[in-house]
Subunit: 215 residues, 2 copies
DNA sequence: TTGACATAGTGACATGGCGTCACCATAATG
DNA sequence: CATTATGGTGACGCCATGTCACTATGTCAA
């Protein structure tokens, strides 16, 4: 065991500074693109010197990796109904898309910042791709299962799941990633229409409009 | 009239240098991500000094803007069948997606570089968004027209066209944007399935497989 | 209490890429 | 032959980055 400065429940100095940096990043990215974020600007709002930054993160992309970890969790939870739920798959699909749209509407600028930053750093790019990859796996599994039940026509689920997931990611990021954000309702309806028509067939679209799912 | 160094048809020094820079960029981006491109590296392969670069482009994003202009044209041509063609819309859709996949497979790394660079520069980002925007307009018009003929069910075409175009862009970029590129056939089939199921209905999917369109 | 030690934080430095500027060379024009 | 504009160059200053030696502070063990 090493010498731990704080033996009891109180959060230590280190944790507080780290959190301050992350909060500064969140505050900044809500209204500015990632490309405008600098270490100087970030540390200006924390009260500690610029070089202290490198004690907590390797670079700005390290901050974004941390942010990805936070957002990731929320998105996984939102997507769960259709991925793992039982019951009417079309209703579950509405629920999942509803959740994804909600999370991405609330976190839009952050998610866009992560996706932007992913283009500028190999490691973050890899993490981002892996993140999307888990959705591919999950969607493929669900499609396969529903195909075996005859709910979805037979086709290779891999490329379709891949494409539909990219559809969600890039549509949501573009729609909600910068101010002014689009109205979420039409986006939700469009995504639901595309997923349902592609997987379960057009006949499911007219009845059970998305308002049916919303409590 | 100013003093023009080349009075007749021969291409001048300036045009040649500019082309050399663009070629250097193409050569580099085929196997390296945009984030690794520098002015020094670019000019090293041209034989002229680094500072000469700024006579032809304002910065690296200026190069990417020029590249966008080139690729844009090819993509417009490829997309034309469904956008402006007459006849069976499902066949035209297959033709368009076929063309898009072909162009994006050939130019993949360049297109990905443009899209990456768009995240790092305001002006290029605007140009890229505008580029995608023209497809939105075109798709909306086509969907409206087919809706009036009863070929596509009635719904607000705006968000659906928006989402489907983002689907194409991000799927094609992710599939073919870096080596090793995916097999184009499954991607083509997945995109065709999604577009056709969403717009014209599932019943068009089984017959007329994509191989029918390929000469 | 004291000495040892780990952790938080700092200022200074070197680096690398960028964009500009004053200046030079060349070649076409009159 | 003088003029003039275009293509090209080296040097400069700038900005953000990442590192490093060093200080300060607080904790633990003897």
């Amino acid at each position: 065991m090493r010498a731990r400065p704080q033996p009891s429940g109180k959060i230590g100095k280190a944790e507080r500074t780290r959190a301050a940096i992350l909060n500064a990043a969140l505050g900044f990215l809500w209204s500015h693109p990632f490309r405008e974020m600098t270490v100087v600007g970030l540390m200006a709002s924390t009260g500690v010197s610029r070089s202290a930054f490198y004690r907590y993160f390797t670079d700005l992309h390290g901050v974004m990796t941390a942010l990805l970890g936070i957002v990731q969790e929320e998105i996984f939870v939102a997507a769960e109904p259709w991925i793992a739920g039982v019951g009417d798959p079309v209703a579950l699909m509405h629920e999942t898309i509803d959740g994804l749209v909600r999370v991405c509407y609330e976190r839009g600028p952050f998610i866009r910042a992560i996706s932007d930053a992913a283009a500028m750093d190999m490691h973050l790019g890899e993490a981002w791709r892996e993140f999307l990859g888990t959705f591919d796996e999950a969607a493929i599994a669900r499609i396969k299962a529903d195909q075996e039940q005859g709910l979805i026509p037979a086709f290779d689920p891999g490329p379709v799941a891949f494409a539909l997931n990219r559809l969600d990611a890039s549509t949501l990021i573009e729609a909600f990633g910068q101010h002014p954000r689009m109205d979420p309702d039409p986006v939700r309806e469009a995504l639901a229409r595309i997923w349902i028509a592609t997987l379960y067939g057009t006949e499911w679209l007219e009845r059970g409009s998305s308002t049916l799912v919303r409590t």
